[in-house]
């Protein structure tokens, strides 16, 4: 009992320390800018966490991020660097927004929701096929190809919304708006929409997939050692395509959720670049789905609360970029110290941490003990 309390206390401490450090450094910066850091933080947590309305906003913001995290985990676990999330996200969003109005007219709300989500997943997945095949068959590095496909995807989304999907209404190029009542239903009288549940299910499903199923294990093996995968009779091309398409589909779905839950329409040049924010989060959670869930929510709170606090303090919201950057830095540093000292896992509850711990891993053994660490090289060049 006592030990348990100590353990929980310790891991909470570890989760909290980097945030506190970042807040302190940021506080000094705010003070240098002539702002009161205490008021700033009080506002931030008040709005993002403690105030019911604001907390709902945080949860709403986390919905697309959870889906992106789920998608990234699948790819990264298989050592596939899907850095093209923005393109996949925007294509999913553009197709959803572009097709939703006419589907709504023709078929009604639910069929529209389901069909647009399916299409977003298809297009997000399809957008990864070229990188997947080039990687799986010819070993072409996927960082380059996914980044380039992402730039192309962003362009295509814009071309679509300026062309076929463009509304007749004058003004900025955008799609017709899906009326608020005909988007995702809201949950239990809150503002939180169905998209959050979808995000939650996705990330939990990815957790089960990667830790409990044979397909997940196959992908992890491919990630850890492509040569071992070949030797064990796995089909690297097939697995690469499966992992990539799944990843792209989840990220495409995220775009759909953003439209059906929040935006209602897609505007030319819309690009929230969520991918860049989520990538470090899933790495800090060591590609673990549950840890990513916790981190995504923390960061949503900071974003929502921070926007408000920045306005109250009359500083531009650029301070949030600095704050988030500092938090990532400190989290990484604390994680490093944790691994060195063999402390508990940082961002997950201790009982979960126990289950996640690599079987037989002896505390130390480097930051990635038990987690296959993606290597960037096409394949670790063996001795021959």
């Amino acid at each position: 009992m006592r030990a348990r309390v100590v353990a929980i206390g310790k891991s909470t401490l570890i989760a909290v320390v980097p945030i506190v450090l970042a807040l302190v450094v940021m506080g000094i910066l705010l003070a240098a800018l002539g702002r009161d850091p205490f008021t700033f933080y009080a506002d931030m947590f008040q709005r993002g966490l403690f105030e019911w309305q604001g907390f709902q906003e945080s949860i709403i913001r986390s919905a697309p991020l959870l889906l992106i995290a789920a998608g990234l985990i699948v790819a990264f676990r298989a050592s596939l660097w899907n850095l093209g999330g923005d393109g996949q996200f925007l294509l999913g969003a553009a197709l959803t927004a572009g097709l939703a109005p006419s589907l709504l007219d023709a078929l009604g709300v639910w069929p529209m929701l389901l069909i647009t989500m399916a299409i977003a997943m298809l297009v997000g997945g399809a957008w990864t096929i070229i990188p997947a095949v080039l990687r799986g068959r010819y070993g072409v590095n996927e960082i380059i190809t996914t980044l380039m496909m992402s730039f192309i995807g962003i362009g295509v989304a814009n071309v679509l919304v300026k062309g076929p999907f463009r509304t007749d209404v004058g003004g900025v190029a955008r799609t017709d708006v899906v009326p608020f009542d005909e988007r995702f239903p809201l949950l239990f009288g809150t503002r939180i929409h169905l998209g959050f549940v979808i995000g939650l299910i996705a990330i939990l499903a990815v957790h089960v997939l990667m830790t409990r199923t044979s397909l997940g294990l196959r992908m992890r093996i491919l990630g850890a050692s492509p040569r071992a995968a070949l030797h064990a009779g796995l089909n690297p091309l097939r697995l690469t395509v499966i992992a990539f398409v799944l990843s792209g589909a989840l990220i495409g779905l995220s775009g759909s959720v953003e439209i059906l839950g929040v935006q209602g329409s897609f505007r030319a040049d819309f690009n929230p670049a969520y991918g860049l924010l989520v990538i470090p989060l899933v790495f800090l959670a060591r590609l673990n789905a549950i840890g990513s869930l916790a981190l995504v929510i923390v960061f949503s709170v900071i974003q929502i609360g921070g926007e408000s606090a920045a306005r109250e303090a009359d500083v531009t919201s650029d301070v949030l970029l600095v704050l988030v950057g500092l938090m990532l830095l400190f989290m990484a540093v604390v994680e490093y110290l944790r691994v060195r000292r063999g402390l508990g896992m940082a961002f997950v509850p201790p009982e979960v941490a126990d289950r996640l711990r690599p079987p037989g891993g002896e505390g130390g053994g480097g930051a990635q003990a038990g987690e296959p660490r993606p290597a960037l090289g096409a394949e670790k060049a063996g001795s021959r």
Partner: protein, 311 residues
Amino acid sequence: MSDLLSQDFLTALIAGGLVAAVPLLYASLGELVAEQAGVLNVGLGGYMLLGAFLAFVITYNTGSEWLGMLAGIVAGAAGALVMAVLCVRMNLDQIVIGIAILLVAEGATSLLHGAAYAESRPSLGSPSELAIPGLKEIPILGESLFSQNAIVYIGIALAFVVGWVLKRTSAGLSIRAAGERPEALDAAGVSVTATRTWATLCAGGLAGLGGAYLVIVGAGSFTPFITQGSGFIAIVIAMLSRGRAPWTIVGAVLFGLSLSVATALQLIGVNIQTDYVQMLPFVVVIVVLVLFARRSYLPSALALPYVRGEK
């Protein structure tokens, strides 16, 4: 519409493309060195921004472009120093730290610019040119290619120098080994940490210089987020160069000129959406990769920390 053959016009287009290419050239050249040593700098755009901002401040206050460029190098290298300490020495995750550096650099330069220069919006004036006599007299090409700021020539020469250093010197050998099989370098008695640290600083300094060029010559002033995601394009160029430094010239010029081509098409009355033109280089590269797919080679130990004796 426009007179396509107007000499001034072509000169301006080629020169514009080159000016757009130079920041990419420096940044990708630096990144190439770091990648060869096993360090992936996702925060490359951050180094560029830091370099851009400090170069702007120094040039504006001293009036000296050269001091500004130097400041750009220092600022970019300072960003890379954080990367080197955290990722090379402490073996933290390169992707996480890289993104963190990018975010901090974006936020901090924007805040500082807002605090100091948003009201006055100073500009740096017309950059100097270091013309190459004789060559400059060649029509069109002469004006555009040989009447550029000296940094352009230095960049092009540097690409070849870096190529030579990587291939023909002990330092280059160490860098390549650090990215490919750091344990071999360690066993040979060369410090992997030192090698990677220098390579990372090199990426920072060069990217910072690229940023400096962007504000001093490219834009003539600093605006927040001025690098516009060119850090990622530079990473792509570095990777596509597959370790051969002179290829960064090709990559950077391809991307730079594609911007000029977009302008040129509009001015001669070809009304094509800029979306298409700007997608073009990426589409071309993807098509080339699909048609002539070959193992694109990245160093095996890229983005992996090295811990001596780890099993």
